[in-house]
Point group: C2
């Protein structure tokens, strides 16, 4: 079994590839919930939904979030009514939010709700939130601290980041479903999807049981670099690296993760860094990592699986 | 000041006409909330919304409920996901439901929420729920009792009605805004809009303070008959009359209301009943009561106002 840690866009693309290649019982996707927030009475789970939509094949490949063929009558109306227009909720996307709210209200856990939603979308693979308890990513700047969505959506990542905090992480327990996967001796590899290291993977690693489990691992951890040619494929990862005093490169990311990652999948554009990464004691696979369509996601997933499982 | 009691379709059309003719301070529309129910975590207020949409001019004139130019992506998705598809919530309509839920959750009363929503729709006239406390219309049949929406939407009014019950009415108090209108000496007339007598007007009259206020009135009550040519203009009023052993005619309705109504506005198609209604001690105005567009609503409103205020 492979356990993949995933954020939003890159996580969704990688998860879709892995799900296309692996049978359901051989994959568990653990998804970041640090971006989750309450908005207009809904629990918004951006990464869970991105991964779910991508695996179901109903995602919008252009934006990297939301549904394909989405319409915006609800948002138009909310804006016309003077409601909060800064966070976009598509008409189709709303169905998931209404169903999730109803289920949570009835006492279901986030992991139970997610499994139910996945079933409704015909997904058999396990997509599991990193915790059923709220963990909230806080983005620090010199003068203040922002909630993640405030930083990410409203301020469009403009503030200069000085660090991150994952409020609630210390007390967060993993969902029972994930606990079972973690206790299973079947886990042969963990894969970090090409997701933002600071606000997608870090929050997952901040959950104590996940961190402890990875620390005493008997399987290799393989990361697919989200940095290609000195830039993030999508999102603010490179900008964050610069602000935190890191070179926006795969090599700097390898140093950043240190012992947490054993094997690296890097893009052909960064092939010249392979030797330096190997000198840090890591195995390296150089390949085409850009998942511009579902076929490429599956192709990369095949490479990653082979590499991650190699003795 | 005129106080109008209103249900959904006919109530909305009449209210729109009255609002087109009267300045804001001279009209209060009291709306039935007996149809209200909780659905997918939303408080659905069919009559309040029908009246609000009609007065704002954003209603769907074909259906009599919901918004003009509505789209259904949310519902399509809910149905595809195996969610509850029996009650239609349009994409635009959802905006009102989300805003209402948010405001209620923050502790606002239904009348406060309604006023806020009306403001967002540019409505200056007072549209007030009959109570901020839940009153729920129950439809009795020989064998059981249905919730109103179960009877009305899911069962399409098919069960044979034996009577109605307005659960919660006895304890229901009127909203402060309505209390003030009722205590004002400015009220010159009350108008029953051409709404269903059993499930639109009756629930309003079942609120003790409203019934008591009307009983000791010093102003006339004028009703616009919802029955035209032996049939209801819209909805199950005629069917209900038959099932309750009444002839579906304006005359039977006049007898049904008895002393509660002083003056009747009836359609030209029922002109032959005018003499009989007058013999029951009522004043009668015969006119064209079919409000097939906003112009006709305003024209009827002008006639009704003149007739209702006549010394």
């Amino acid at each position: 079994m492979i356990v993949a840690l995933a954020g939003g866009v890159g996580g969704g693309r990688m998860a879709a590839g892995l799900a296309a290649v692996l049978p359901p019982r051989e994959l568990t996707v653990v998804v970041n919930t640090g971006d989750d927030f309450e908005h207009m009475g809904f629990t918004i789970c951006p990464d869970l939904d991105s991964v779910m939509y991508a695996v179901a094949g109903v995602n919008n490949p252009q934006t990297g979030w939301g549904r394909a063929g989405e319409t915006w009558a609800f948002m138009d109306e909310i804006k016309r009514c003077g409601g909060e227009g800064w966070f976009n909720l598509g008409d189709r996307d709303l169905a998931v939010h209404v169903l999730r709210r109803e289920a949570l209200r009835r006492g279901a856990t986030l992991s139970e709700v997610t499994r139910d939603l996945c079933t409704r979308f015909g997904i058999e693979h396990a997509i599991v939130p990193m915790s059923d308890m709220p963990v909230r990513t806080r983005v620090k700047t010199k003068s203040q601290e922002h909630s993640f969505q405030d930083y990410f959506v409203r301020l469009r990542c403009k503030p200069h980041t000085t660090g991150f905090r994952f409020a609630g992480a210390r007390a967060a327990r993993v969902p029972l479903m994930l606990q079972r996967s973690m206790e299973s001796t079947q886990v042969e590899a963990v894969v970090f999807c090409p997701s933002n290291p600071f606000v997608s993977i870090s929050p997952i690693l901040a959950v104590p049981a996940i961190r402890a489990w990875l620390k005493q691992r008997k399987f290799p951890v393989t990361a697919v670099s989200p940095i290609v040619g000195g830039a993030a494929v999508k999102g603010p990862a490179a900008k964050m690296m610069r602000e935190l005093g890191l070179q926006p490169s795969t090599l700097a990311l390898v140093r950043h993760y240190g012992d947490a990652v054993d094997r690296w999948v890097i893009d052909r554009q960064d092939a010249r860094q392979a030797a330096a990464i190997e000198r840090l004691g890591k195995r390296v696979l150089v390949t085409d990592t850009l998942m511009t369509n579902r076929r490429k996601s599956a192709a990369l997933a095949r490479c990653v699986i082979n590499f991650a499982l190699k003795k």
